[in-house]
Subunit: 640 residues, 2 copies
Amino acid sequence: MKHDRNIYLSNMALNEAIELYTSACARGEISLEDEVLQTVEALGRVTAEPVFASLSAPWFNASAMDGIAVNAASTYEASERRPVVLTKGKDYIIVDTGDPILDPWDAVIMVEDLVDLSEEQVEIRAAVSPWENVRPVGEDIVAGELILPAYHRITPIDLGALLSGGVNAVKVLKKPRVAILPTGTEIIEPGTPMEMGKIIESNSRVFEGTVIQCGGEPIRLAPVADDYPLLVETVKKAAESSDMVIIVAGSSAGTEDFTSRIVAELGEVYVHGIALKPGKPAILGKIGHAPVIGLPGYPVSSWVVFDTIVKPLLYTMQHQRPLQRPTAEAVLSRRLVSSLKNLEVVRVKLGKVGDKLIATPLNRGAGVTMSLVRADGLLEIPQSSEGFEAGTKVPVRLLRPIEEIENTVVVIGSHDLVIDLLADQIHTKWPDSGLSSAHVGSLGGVMAIVKGEAHMAPIHLLDETAGQYNMSYVKKLFPTFKGYLIRGVKRTQGLMLPKGNPKGVQGLEDLTRVDIRFVNRQRGSGTRLLLDHNLKIRNMDSEGIQGYDREMTTHMAVASAVASGTADVGLGVRSAAALTGLDFIPVGDEAYDFLVAESHIQALPVKRAIEALRSEAFKNKVLALGGYGVENCGEVITIE
Amino acid sequence: MKHDRNIYLSNMALNEAIELYTSACARGEISLEDEVLQTVEALGRVTAEPVFASLSAPWFNASAMDGIAVNAASTYEASERRPVVLTKGKDYIIVDTGDPILDPWDAVIMVEDLVDLSEEQVEIRAAVSPWENVRPVGEDIVAGELILPAYHRITPIDLGALLSGGVNAVKVLKKPRVAILPTGTEIIEPGTPMEMGKIIESNSRVFEGTVIQCGGEPIRLAPVADDYPLLVETVKKAAESSDMVIIVAGSSAGTEDFTSRIVAELGEVYVHGIALKPGKPAILGKIGHAPVIGLPGYPVSSWVVFDTIVKPLLYTMQHQRPLQRPTAEAVLSRRLVSSLKNLEVVRVKLGKVGDKLIATPLNRGAGVTMSLVRADGLLEIPQSSEGFEAGTKVPVRLLRPIEEIENTVVVIGSHDLVIDLLADQIHTKWPDSGLSSAHVGSLGGVMAIVKGEAHMAPIHLLDETAGQYNMSYVKKLFPTFKGYLIRGVKRTQGLMLPKGNPKGVQGLEDLTRVDIRFVNRQRGSGTRLLLDHNLKIRNMDSEGIQGYDREMTTHMAVASAVASGTADVGLGVRSAAALTGLDFIPVGDEAYDFLVAESHIQALPVKRAIEALRSEAFKNKVLALGGYGVENCGEVITIE
C-alpha cells in the first residue's frame, strides 16, 4: 500500500467552515481593484463609488408636447366664449415634443387644443400657466444628484440614466479574475482519443460557466498532471496573478493530497474536509490575498462545494448580496435516509400535482452529473437529521422558476425511452412546460397515482390470469380506483445480448447456466414481473440465476451492463438494445400505458401530455427508435 | 401649422395588440436559424434539437473508492473471525478512485477496510459482492440517452454533462439579431459637445443591454436624422439582415410619423397606438420575416413597450418561456388616480414595514428615467380601473429580489441630499440592504409613521410657539404617539439665487417684488412651513408672491429651476445651492431629524440605518457636502 496517503480528513460542520473561511478571507482584504470604463461598456459591472449626474436631464426647458410655445401672459384672456387669436412669430412658434422653450416663451399649448385659422394664425379657448406643458430642467435628473450608489450592478436602464446625466465614463470594480486549474494524470481534454482509464475533463468548464454567471472572469489554465513541483509552480503563479484560484482535483486521492500540501506550502489551509455530502474532501485555503479552493473530483461534489462556498465568496468580493434561490415547500414522495455525519444536499425533481408540490429525490451519487442536469431543486438534510419519511413537508431551494415547475407533468412509474421523447415533444410545443420523470417501476407508479404524487404513471403490468395488460391489473389491485388509462405504446421485451451472442444464449432457459451472468431490474418494475412470470411458467428458480440480485432501474442501465461486459444477458426493451448495439431475442410484446387519476385528467399538464402523445411528431420519433407500435397512442379509456 | 401631422393614433387594448401582433409574427415564421458550436462555447445558448450522449459516463467500469481491486469470489470466506489474506498482484491491485476495473477484477475494497500486513499483503475481514464499490459504465450517462431536450438554454452544469457524454459540438439556435436604430434630428451621441435643443441619445443603449440580457445579439446602427429617404433605406437594409428591428423614435411627432409610414411602405403595420401609459404611440409591424417595432421617444415609454411587447417576443423566438417577474402583494401608501383610457404601468418603491409590504408610487412622468432606476416594482392599473385608494392591496411585479426589499429601510418624509448619502452608506456596508425614500414633506412623513407605512420619517418641523424643532411639534400633533427621534443633521435654509444675484435680492422681503419670480415647495413640506412662518412674522401676504403656487418636491428641483432661469429665487438648503452653483442667503438653521415609531426601533433595517448615521464615513461625506452640522448624529431620543 501507499503509506503516504492521507485518508483522514476533518469533518467540520458546513456553517463553521464557511464562517472560519469567510473571516479568514476578509482578514486578507479580498477587495477588487477598480477601473474606469466607458458607460456604454459598463452593463452588468459593479459601481466602485456613488455616481452623481454631471448634467441635468433635460438640460434645457423642453416642450412636453407637440404644439406651440407661447408666453403664458398672452393667453390669460382666452376662454370658450372669448377665444384669443395668436399670430405666428409674434405670439407663438411651433414646437415639437423635446424642443427647447426659450425666452420669451414660457409655456406650451398642445396641438389638440388649437384651432387653425391660417398658416399664420391659431385660435385658443383656454389660458395656460407659466411653465405648463414644459419639462423643466432636471425633471428627470438634476446635475449633482445621485444616480447610482456604490456597489450597484449596472442594469440596462441605469445606462440610460447615466448617459442622460452626462456620465460617459464610470468607475467600476474590476471583474474578479478566477484561475481554474484542472489537475490529474487521468484527465484528458474533450475530443482527445480515448484511452482506457482516461477521463474527459469537464469540471473546469462547468466552473468557467458559473464564474461568468457570477460576474467573474474565468481563466482556465491548461490541465496539469499529478506532478508535485509543476503543480506548486502553477498554483503559485495563478495565486499571484488572479483574485481567486480553483484547483479542480483529479479523482485520485494522491492528487487531493497534493492540493492540500501545496496550499499549505504556499499559504494557509483553513479547512480540509467538510461535513457535507457530496463535497466532503474540499480544501479551503489562501495564498497571499487570493482565496484558493481545492474542489473534489466528482462532478456533483465539486458543484455543491462551488455553489455553497465559492459562489457566495465571489459575490461578496463584488460587494453583492450572494444569490439566494427562492424556496418552496414540497411533499417528499419517497423516504430519504441520511447520515448524522454530514449535511446532505439531495437533488430533487418537482411537480405540482393537485395542490401539492411533490419532491422526488434523484440519484444521490456524487458522480451523477445528470442528477444536477435534471434537478428542479435542492433539498438539504441537516447534519442533525437522519432524513425524512415519505410525505414529510420539506423546504426545497428552486433551480427553475416555480411557474415552469407548475406546468410540468409529473410522470412516475416504469421506465421507457419514449418518456424522453415525450418530454422533448412537450417542451418543444410549450416552452413553459416540461415533463419530470422518476423511474420507480410500474407498481411504484400505481402507488404514486393512488397517493396523489404523480399526474401519470407509465405502467406495463401483466395480469397473469387475464393474460391482459394494465387495465385488469389495476382494477384487481385497487377495485375502487377511479381514473383513466391513456394508451401509450406497444413494445417488445426480450433478452439483450452482446453483439454476436458469444455465449450462444437461446432463451430464458439459459439464464440458469453457470457461465451466464444476468443483470436484473428492480423489484416492482414491470420488467421484473415479466421475468418472474416467465420463470414461473417455466418452473425455473430465481436462486439458480447468477446476478438475479443485481438490480438496475432503467432499460439503458441494463443494456449498458451487458454492453460493458459486466453481465452476459439482461431483459429489456428492443430500443435500448438497438441504441447500445446489442443483439436481441424477443420474449413478448406488451402494452406500455399511462395511468391517470380522475382528479387530474383535466389538469393542464396532463392535457398537454395527451396532446403530445397524439401528435404525429411524437409518433414518428417513437417509430424511428424501432421496436414500437403507436396505434391508439393517446387514446383515453375510462377505468370502470 | 404642419397639416401633415398625424395626431390621432389608435387606442388598442394592450392584450388585443399583443395577441394581434404575436399571431401576425407567428404567421411570418419568425424562427431562427441554427448553427453548430463547440460545446465549450455554448454556455447560455438554446439547443436546436434534443441532444443524446455519444459516450457513456463513465465509459469503463471505474473504482468508486481508493482501495484495492479484487475478484469478489476471492473474498467470500472473509469474516471478522476468519480474516482472509490477499497478496498483491495475485489477489489484488491498488486502485485510486476512477481507475478502471478490468478482468479479472470485479469489485473494490476501500482503503479504510484494509489491514496492511506488508507492502505485498493485506488482510480483509468482510466479503464484497461482484461490482461492489465499482461505478458501472453509464452510471451517470448511457450512450444514446437524452442529455438535453430541444430548446433548452444551456447551463454550466449542462456543459459538464455534454462533455462527459462525448458531445463536443452542439446544434444551437443562432442568437436573434436585433437591429436598433436611433432616429431623430435632435439626438446626439454621448460625449458630443452640447448644442441647444440637442438630446443625448441613450435609449438605444438601454435596449442594447436588454437584448443582451434576453439572449439576443444587438446591432446598434448609427443614428439617423429625420430624413425620409435615408430612413427608408436604413430600415430596409436592417430588416433584410436581422431577425428584428427596433426603431427608436426621436421625440418629435414628425419622426414618429416617418416610422409608421416607412414600415407601412416596406411591410405591414399591425398596430399604431396602444392603450398603454406610458407607451401609447408604439408601432408594431413587420417587414419581410422581421418584426419591426417603432418605440416612442420618451425613455420610460419606450422601456415599457420594450418590456411588455418586445421582450416576450424575443424569448418566444428562442422557444423560451417569456420572463415572468415574481409578484408580491403590497399596500399602496398613496392614492393613485388613473384614466380609463389606458392600462397604466406605475413604478413603485417597496419596503417591508412591520408585516406589511408598502408600495409608494414614483414619478409617473414618461420622461423620468430615474423612476425606473429607483423602482423596486411595477404596478399595473388595469384599463378598466380608475385607480386605487391609499391602503388598497395591490399586486406588484418585483424588479428586485424580495429579500433585498425586506432589508430596506423605508424613509418617507422631507427631502435632503443627505438621504442619498445615507442610502449609499447602508448599501456599501450591507450589500443586501438599501434605503428607499419618498419625498412627501415633513408632515407627510409624520403621517406615514403614524399609519405604519414607513420606518423613519425625516422631518424638520418648527414649533413656532416653542421655537423648537421636531420634538414638541410631534408631541403637539400626536400627544399619544410613542416613539423616538433619531438626531440627524443641522442644516441651513436660505434663499437660492442665480450666481452673482443679478436682481439684487437681499432677503425674504424681496419676494413680493414684481420683477421677482419665486419657486415654491409643496404643501406639507417643512421648507414650505418655514417660508410661511417667516412670511407671517413679517406680515407678508403670499398672494403677492409671483410663483408661490409653483411647487417642487425637492431642494434640487427648486435649485434647478433657479439655475435654469425659470425662477429668480427659491428657498432651500445650502448644499443644493452649492451643488448647482447658486448664490445663497441664509434664512435660518434647523434640525433635520428622523421620527421612528416604538414598534420599529428594533427592526433590522432601522438598526442598520442608525449605525450608518453614527458612522464616521457618513458624517465625513455630509461635512464634505457643506452647510451641515453632524453633532449628535444618530443619537436616539425617546419621545415622551
